[in-house]
Symmetry: C2
Subunit: 438 residues, 2 copies
């Protein structure tokens, strides 16, 4: 390709992200073209909703209604899938890759569900997949893992990957208000979707964790193979208890790899993080990721995890990388696209170890603490601290236990046994405590 080469781009989907990409690409194109030595033309835009297309200012001559027409168009070299979901989006991505195109996508749910199929299609067709925008918005964490930290193996990656949950938890802490109230507010302000479950139940975080695990360890971990818990059961009292113990509650994705046993584990759960930890101080809609490499040590990456502009920044950087690759003749697989046959196993979730936080609502009567302590002892769980508060229930108390490092299996057994005690009201709340320093 010569310096004056033209790169033709197709954009599928004019939602928040698609509109942002169109807008910012128009604004930054001159500078990008100068730096990349190629002309960038958004030749086709697929959107069914004509009003959206008109308000974004898409010329009618470039507009099509069927995204598959964009995926198949032989004149296009790069196809941006910004439709979302896992049905049409999957078809678009697979069709474009079968045609040997480079695909840029922000779709974490799609990659998590169909990653192996998508990357196999890219290898077969000689195309590529870029997905910087799928994790942590505009923070270049995909590039960091793919390229910047290529000399490292990763015993621990963890972080806050969902801005909606972090916004809700931050406001619950700052205003001592219950989850449902803050959620309603977040919806009104546009920080939570009308159907919030993908975010607050931890699924969105799990999709992103799956992508980070793939980048770091070369293996796709499905959501069914992870421990996934959301933030809906957290109360302002839990947040206050955590604060009294020196922690903040954050919804974390935690990806651990044990190089001795060659096992990887992925979990998503609300976690008590020591307040002096940088990640504990990542608040509001910000995401923060801690990456520990065996050579580099711990590095941290923080920024807005979502939003039109931050996500558009990431999509445009992927387009720039795609242009560079095209100008190179597209012969290079990116490092993580080579399949790894490293015998990596999934660590059984029941074997995971950490300290725990357990909140029980119990009848306020003599002997309750003794009965609870007998159950924990029987399961080999050693208690580190006990707090007791008045409970929202009449004639009841909230009992908050923290444990020394124990395993998940023992704690789950403890919780089941406790639930069978007549003196324990409600379902106990079990949270994990982060025992890593950075």
């Amino acid at each position: 390709m010569k310096k004056t080469a033209v790169v033709s781009i197709g954009l599928c989907g004019l939602g928040t992200v698609g509109t942002g990409v169109w807008k910012h690409l128009a604004r930054t194109r001159a500078e990008l073209e100068r730096r990349l030595g190629a002309r960038l033309v958004v030749q086709r835009v697929a959107e069914r909703d004509l009003r959206k297309a008109r308000s974004a200012g898409i010329p009618a001559s470039r507009l099509v209604s069927d995204a598959l027409d964009v995926a198949r168009d032989p004149a296009l070299q790069i196809v941006c899938e910004l439709i979302g979901g896992t049905t049409v989006a999957r078809e678009v991505v697979l069709t474009a890759l079968a045609a040997g195109k480079i695909v840029v996508t922000a779709n974490k749910a799609l990659l998590c569900a169909y990653g192996p199929e998508i990357f196999a299609a890219a290898r077969r067709g000689g195309g590529h997949v870029f997905f910087e925008a799928s994790v942590a918005g505009g923070v270049p964490i995909v590039k960091a893992l793919r390229e910047g930290l290529v000399a490292n193996r990763f015993p621990l990656i963890y972080g806050i990957l969902n801005g909606t949950c972090n916004y809700i938890l931050t406001r619950m802490e700052e205003e001592q208000r219950p989850y449902a109230e803050v959620l309603a507010d977040a919806k009104r302000l546009g920080y939570a979707e009308a159907n919030e479950s993908l975010d607050v139940e931890g699924w969105d975080t799990a999709h992103k964790a799956s992508i980070l695990a793939y980048l770091a360890h070369g293996r796709w971990v499905k959501t069914g193979q992870m421990l996934i818990e959301g933030i809906t059961k957290i109360t302002p009292t839990d947040i206050a208890n955590a604060a009294a113990l020196g922690y903040r509650i954050k919804l974390l994705a935690i990806i651990t790899r044990d190089f001795d046993t060659n096992e990887v584990a992925v979990r998503v759960c609300p976690t008590l993080v020591p307040r002096r930890n940088v990640i504990a101080n990542v608040n509001g809609v910000y995401n923060g990721i801690s990456v520990t490499g065996d050579v580099v040590g711990t590095t941290l990456y923080i920024g807005r995890g979502a939003g039109q502009d931050a996500t558009a920044s990431a999509v445009i950087s992927d387009i720039a990388d795609a242009v560079t690759l095209l100008r190179c003749g597209k012969s290079m697989p990116t490092p993580d696209e080579l399949p790894r046959r490293n015998g990596l196993k999934l660590s059984p979730l029941a074997r995971m170890q950490c300290p725990f936080y357990l909140r029980l609502e119990v009848r306020d009567q003599p002997g309750v603490l003794a009965r609870v302590a007998t159950v924990t002892a029987r399961h080999g769980v050693s208690i580190e601290s006990v707090l007791q508060h008045p409970s929202p229930h009449p004639r009841a108390a909230s009992l908050i236990l923290t444990t020394h490092r124990s395993n998940e299996h023992a704690l789950r057994g403890t919780v089941s046994a406790l639930q069978r005690l007549g003196c324990v009201l409600d379902e106990p709340l079990l949270l994990r405590i982060a025992d890593f320093a950075n």
Copy 2:
């Protein structure tokens, strides 16, 4: 190049970094080769000190004493300059680039002093320069600015770029001990060089700031065009005063660009940073950089800024990028290598604006505050707060003023005038206060 291509690498210098690169490259080579689809061979190592070479386990057959022999060797495609300094290192880099090779360097002093010459040589020879290790050790901040945030313009970049200074300031705060004592300790522990001036006087930070400014704005700013102050005059009292006012003192590099006037300014100075700011909580030998892009918003990058392993991680990622480039046929300039003719001007230092912290040692006698306040008012500087403490001097007091946003020129005038007052003992200490939120 075929998949089984061999890439030949020359390593110049077996100091801390060179030894680390040799060691970690040996350890990670198999995995790197699989991911990059090429064999990596460190064909030549240049080191005059035979003991160093022997203790690193360099085979005699690969060892040469003159780094220029490596730079000239036609069998090598990548030359790593890890010698340091700006004399031999410059010759090595220019010679390798003249021969069309790819140069990987960790040498910030060299790039800051000779950046334009080096990049011109790369363009002329058809070679390239990679320098991830020159700023913030293993944190991939160069890649983030070069590629990940390519859609952005950067109104503000600031951060902690020198681990030695941050270590000293952190320990001064934690232990309330004076600078000289902590410096001596840091030397004993290997956190400061025998000749510490490059670090503590701010020069090392300035070299790195110059590289960040080049990446963000396409222009080399020389140290003579920056405001540069070190940390040697900071006392535990200043740190305590800052804490009382809600700040931590950090040696910051601050790169601002005004897109209306098209001016850039680079300054390196100990700065009061609000304690809630993430950068204020980056302690010890860690570096932390805040990058505000006009599209992505604010993103932050944190990690160990130096040390054998962190730096080797960055050098090896550059080698991987160089291999990718070689496999592409090396035809691509990296985005920042194209010269930009954007009419960018340097902002006059005297015009820079921020709030200030001013510590004066004054005679403890009536009327002193009135005289000081008269001088500040005459210079148009508006005082925000006043603290007074007993001074180390007998019959004297420490007077700490903070000002509203003022300009550098007015403050310097104020300080000169104050020094001429008979009641002001010693040289006043003038520090800047960060007025950015993230």
